[in-house]
């Protein structure tokens, strides 16, 4: 394996954040390589979502750095993190509810659209060309998540499972290198979870992106993740292959109590 020399897509070095006196996350180190699917698990309140917020620029870390393809992202705003290639979904679904499904996806193309206000006002050929391309690309992404026939309905009228998928489709539209999924299977029934799994696999095969997954559904995590990192009270307590994690006494203690 040449992984030793390859730069990881996403890497954190001694990442930490304190809120007042509370050390929410400390000394968090993770490396994710291209095409890898890594799971991040931990009991409730362990700091998983805080890690996501640090990785997407929502929180500014009090120590440590986030590197994307070896380039530090210090001091950047969330939308600049996205432009650099980090996309995410949210634990509690955050869609643009009053917009159509396709507009939800197209909104995420904004940073790639180069026409200006004048083009938009005068409806120049450049405007039409860009809009047409964006519609086609958006339909493509919706097709991956099996939403192509719902393109024109309001996002809020989609059933729960499809809203989750639309959120993933929207994240895909940002043309990212790393995809962070915050509990994508939460509240889903087994059929929906299976569909989601298929969707995640398609994404990985087609885009070759690295995926970091927070999940409580252990069977999902154990099945799909190649590596797992476990945190508790903001600190990494274990990391390794799924079977190692499943048998790690520290992890069992964290989940079940001593």
């Amino acid at each position: 394996m040449s992984e030793a020399v390859k730069t990881p897509v996403l890497e954190t070095k001694k990442l930490g954040i304190t809120f007042g006196g509370l050390k929410a996350v400390q000394d968090f180190n993770i490396r994710i390589y291209q095409g890898e699917l890594v799971g991040l698990i931990g009991p409730n309140g362990a700091g998983k979502t805080t890690v996501f917020n640090l990785l997407t620029g929502v929180y500014v870390p009090t120590e440590g750095t986030v590197l994307l393809n070896g380039v530090p992202l210090n001091g950047k705003k969330p939308h600049q993190f996205v432009a650099a290639g980090v996309a995410r979904t949210f634990q509690n679904i955050r869609l643009f509810k009053q917009m159509s499904v396709i507009d939800n996806v197209k909104a995420a193309f904004t940073k790639d659209i180069s026409y200006n206000l004048l083009d938009a006002t005068l409806r120049t050929p450049k405007f039409w060309k860009t809009e047409k391309e964006m519609t086609e690309k958006a339909m493509d992404l919706l097709a991956i998540c099996h939403l192509e026939d719902k393109a024109d309905i309001l996002a809020s009228s989609l059933p729960y499972g499809q809203q989750r998928k639309l959120e993933i489709a929207r994240a895909l539209a940002t043309d990212m290198k790393v995809l962070l999924l915050d509990e994508p299977a939460a509240g889903m029934n087994p059929t929906e979870t299976a569909e989601l799994l298929e969707c995640i696999n398609t994404i990985r095969d087609r885009f070759g992106v690295a995926i970091l997954l927070i999940e409580h559904d252990m069977s999902l995590v154990m099945n799909v993740c190649e590596r797992i990192q476990v945190i508790d009270y903001g600190q990494t307590i274990a990391s390794g292959l799924p079977e190692e994690i499943a048998n790690n006494p520290k992890v069992i203690a964290a989940y079940l109590g001593e």
Binding site: T56, V58, K77, P78, H79, V82, A83, A87, R88, F90, R94, L95, F96, K97, Q98, M99, D103, N104, K106, A107, A108, F109, T110, K111, I113, Y115, L117, A120, T121, L122, R123, F127, W128, E131, K132, T135, R170, A171, A173, T174
Partner: protein, 383 residues
């Protein structure tokens, strides 16, 4: 395929607008001389024009961007004074001789444009700090900025202090320049109409582009918007400035339509139709997120306001009701409450009128009503 249809729609709209505009010009030419047209209809149309632009421009911020701004009249004041002072300066330096001078037309449009641009600049300056806040805080700070703007204008020496008025020291403004008399109001009515059409088109194009998508995304969920790569602060400030531009244009039209200009007409305490909260009422009434709604609501609110003040029927009402009409704001408040109770999303919700889609929309609405009726019938049968 879809694009061709959109093109057809644009073509249809353009043709209809041109035809209506031509028909209107012919009507004005035919009846423009009559007293009632000159004294009632033409001034009313002027007012409607600037109220429409004003309501629609606030809708960009309130309905599409989802930020409550209560300082819109401040931008309108900037526009009004810019246009008035510019035309005054042009007249004093004798750029044009009289209203028949072809240069005069250029100057009118230049004044309107300058009013918009200056408003937009101030909008930019106000927006950069103000839009860091949200909700009530933003409402309060924009309210404050609106008052500050009006007060500054009031204290600028070259703004005529207590108003630019016919006969006052600073007011050769209204001899030939903007501030049309009743005859010019008819002659130049097309300027107001054309400006309104252009402004509405610009706003519509803005909404139906990446900008519209962006700002609606920000309205629905700002965190998700920035997680989708949208530079939220940029688009917020930009929309705020863009909206201020149109408020400025509306102000310029206001300056044209009025023989006097006084800062008290833009003040927050103004009980008349020009009041930042009044414009908010128009937007909410028409539907936040529907430019069509803003147009209709502006006209409706104007008519209500006009009828309360001038309607012959008011005299027939009992004295107590007439007393309420002394304070038009009470009437608007009641109107607003009725709308909120029965149609919480405003008259139009987020619906946009479209000639091409009209048959389909009507059909859908009829089908929906029939379905509702059937449902009610069924529910009734079960009871």
């Amino acid at each position: 395929m879809k694009q061709n249809k959109t093109m057809q729609g644009y073509l249809l709209n353009t043709v209809v607008i041109v035809v209506l505009f031509a028909a209107f010009q012919m009507l004005t030419a035919a009846y423009g001389g009559s007293g009632s047209f000159k004294l009632v209809i033409a001034p009313c149309l002027w007012q409607c024009c600037y109220l429409i632009i004003l309501a629609a421009s606030l809708n960009l911020v309130l309905g599409f961007l989802g930020q409550l701004s209560l300082g819109h009249c401040g931008f309108m004041a900037i526009g009004a004074y810019t246009a008035a002072l510019l035309s005054l300066a042009c007249e004093r330096s004798e750029v044009f001789k009289n209203a028949n001078d072809p240069v005069y037309l250029v100057i009118i449009f230049a004044c309107i444009l300058a009013a918009g641009v200056l408003s937009a600049l101030v909008g930019l300056l106000v927006g950069i700090p103000a839009l860091r806040l949200k909700g009530d805080y933003l409402a309060i700070i924009t309210l404050g900025f609106g008052m500050i703007i009006v007060n500054i204008i009031n204290n600028l020496p070259f703004c005529g202090q207590d108003g630019l008025a016919l006969g006052s020291a600073s007011a050769s403004l209204y001899k030939n320049g903007l501030g049309f008399g009743s005859k010019s109001k008819v002659t130049f009515l097309w300027v107001a109409l054309l400006t309104t059409i252009v402004c509405m088109t610009m706003m519509f194009m803005f909404i139906r582009s990446k900008y519209g998508r962006c700002i609606r995304a920000i309205r629905d969920d700002e965190i998700a918007a920035s997680a989708s790569g949208i530079n939220t602060s940029f688009y917020k400030v930009m929309t705020f400035a863009y909206s201020a531009f149109f408020a400025g244009v509306a102000g310029a039209l206001y300056a044209c339509a009025n023989a006097t200009l006084s800062t008290s007409s833009f003040a927050f305490t103004n009980g008349g139709i020009l009041n930042s909260t009044f414009i908010v009422v128009m937007v909410v009434l028409g539907g936040m997120g529907s430019l069509t709604g803003s147009v209709v609501a502006a006209v409706v609110m104007f008519l209500v306001n006009y009828q309360i003040k001038n309607g012959a029927w008011v005299a027939l009402l009992p004295a107590s009701v007439q007393g309420v009409f002394q304070y038009p704001m009470l009437v608007y408040a009641i109107l607003l409450i009725i709308i909120i109770v029965f149609r919480p999303k405003g008259i139009f919700g987020a619906y946009e009128f479209s000639l091409r889609n009209l048959p389909a929309d009507l059909k859908a609405s009829r089908a929906r009503k029939a379905a509702e009726k059937a449902e009610r019938k069924e529910a009734g049968a079960h009871v």
